[in-house]
Symmetry: C2
Subunit: 334 residues, 2 copies
């Protein structure tokens, strides 16, 4: 993808950004694997395979950074980090079934290897174990909050699916869907990090808003990558939003921008389904680079909003990492 | 299905059996619908459709009967009843995707109407809301116990799926799978009914064992119905276990009983996949009536076990209904 035209000389590396959290993220990882241990060799094998897809651990990192930014990190932060990562992994497994994805992080997706049964059931197993783990915490806030968040994630996914092929979806409708399906888990991670640090209400809200806006930006960039990203660097099947006829922000902007006749051609192609690469089919009708740039500019606005909320936190290393993470969202190519 | 040869003059009617619980089951139903209320019109429509598939409310009935048999019924029993019904509904939705079922309770299944996306997501939504509802209870026992039970349900489903086509599955392996995937939720329902009644440990165990053995019997009869039931009275697609190459008890008994050459033919037919009705294809190779009868006899043993545990409870109307319910499992044709 072309970036926003203001990429720094050295591309921000999430690994370097999160290096100060390495020990805690290792503890999150250990808690994650302890929670998913199973007597069933089938379950064990699948959990191991699913673990290969795990990415940057952004959500657990948010829990820990939020705690640190509020001046207190506890064992509960590690547990909450593992829970949010489990919920995220379960949604990925079910997403891959929904998207008929064949690769994830450059590896065969579980549905490509085992059909649809296994990722559905493994996702359910991981959800159940996430709630079981939440119930091991003395304080019930995480259990209550994350059940409600999972409900929102599912509502967003249902609304997105039921709106497939609705190319007149409005921006507010689009925004509500991505808030539910993506941003709510970022917001919950940051919020819970603050709550388990015993932070005052103002910091809890600042972190929740930071997470929400970061999540929205993240999803918009995801939309842009699906349309304009490179499959090898992104590491998963792309163009699936087009072939699944999902409304994304660049597509929304494109349909607002182009003349009616071009828009009709695009809608027709999407409704019929492209032969071969859907991105190439779209490019054959219209140059969508301006629409990707427009969506990126919107993501940039949300990143600015996220940064503004983070700046209300006490200054220090954790706050700086939150600010850098926000910038990273814009520059990422995977 | 032919029954066990000792059917009473009047077939037990679950509705009549559960009539003394009608008011409580209405309260369960109201709690269920309150919990699944949603701002999303898409979610609302799907929840309504899924509600049409709800059956006999056996699991909530167990919660309430267990409470009554132990001499105390509380508001928590109604909430726990709604939660176990929600978990059950979510598993049904995901099961229909796994089984490629086209009908359920004589209605088009949700996957037949909407594809696989919607039942997966609606199931996830209902799971999440079940855990959210569990977190509204002051006492955390149900939340803890039902997350662990959901984990077992999923483990059983995963093991069943990963063992598809393994026609040398042993009886103990088969039994462990159906305990996990079916009996564990019956056991949890009865156990929680006792716990929320403040029952002594002996009654809690008696009810858990009653539920476990009832659930095992229920699943074995389900296996028999899939092979020998009538689609119209059962109200769902049958023969799916055969076409999905799942090991069931009658099939296990058949492969133990028939000569090696017949067994080889059966395995070959199952491995290749039958053209048309898989039950007719199996019947063309071998008469499986003795194997269905043998599996039914095993179910009868479990019903006897369940009754034995129920008889350890204080005598009264609730205990009698538990005993009658156990008999009903054997006589049901749907």
């Amino acid at each position: 993808m072309s970036g926003t035209g203001k990429a720094p000389a050295t591309r921000p590396d999430p690994k370097a950004l999160l290096a100060p959290l390495a020990d805690d993220l290792k503890r999150v990882d250990a808690a994650y694997h302890r929670a998913l241990a199973s007597e069933s060799p089938h379950v064990r094998k699948l959990v191991e395979h699913a673990a290969l897809f795990r990415g940057k651990q952004l959500r657990p990192a948010l829990v820990i950074l939020a705690g640190r930014a509020c001046g207190r990190e506890t064992d509960a932060h590690v547990v909450v980090g593992a829970i949010v990562e489990m919920i995220h992994t379960a949604t990925l497994l079910h997403d891959d079934v929904l998207d008929h994805a064949t690769t994830r992080r450059n590896l065969p997706s579980i549905n490509a290897l085992h059909g649809n049964e296994v990722p559905i059931l493994l996702g359910d197993f991981i959800y159940a174990q996430a709630f079981a783990l939440a119930n091991t915490l003395e304080d019930r806030t995480a259990a209550i909050h994350l059940a409600a968040t999972t409900r929102r994630l599912c509502t967003g996914e249902i609304d997105q699916n039921c709106n497939r092929g609705r190319f007149d979806l409005s921006y507010p409708e689009y925004l509500r869907i991505i808030e539910d399906k993506t941003a709510s888990l970022y917001a919950a991670s940051a919020r819970l990090g603050a709550i388990y640090a015993g932070a005052p209400a103002e910091q809890v809200t600042a972190l929740e808003e930071y997470g929400r806006q970061l999540g929205i930006a993240f999803q918009i960039i995801d939309d842009c990558l699906d349309l304009a990203g490179d499959e090898r660097s992104v590491g998963k099947s792309l163009g699936t939003d087009l072939s699944e006829r999902k409304m994304t922000l660049p597509l929304l902007r494109l349909l607002e921008r182009v003349p009616a006749a071009t828009g009709a051609k695009v809608r027709q192609m999407l409704a019929d389904g492209a032969v071969g690469d859907p991105r190439a089919a779209l490019r054959a009708i219209v140059d969508f680079a301006p629409d990707v740039a427009s969506a990126q500019a919107t993501a940039e606005q949300f990143v600015r909003g996220a940064r503004g909320h983070a700046e209300r936190l006490p200054p220090g290393a954790a706050r700086q990492t939150l600010l850098d993470l926000a910038d990273f969202v814009l520059e990422r190519d995977r």
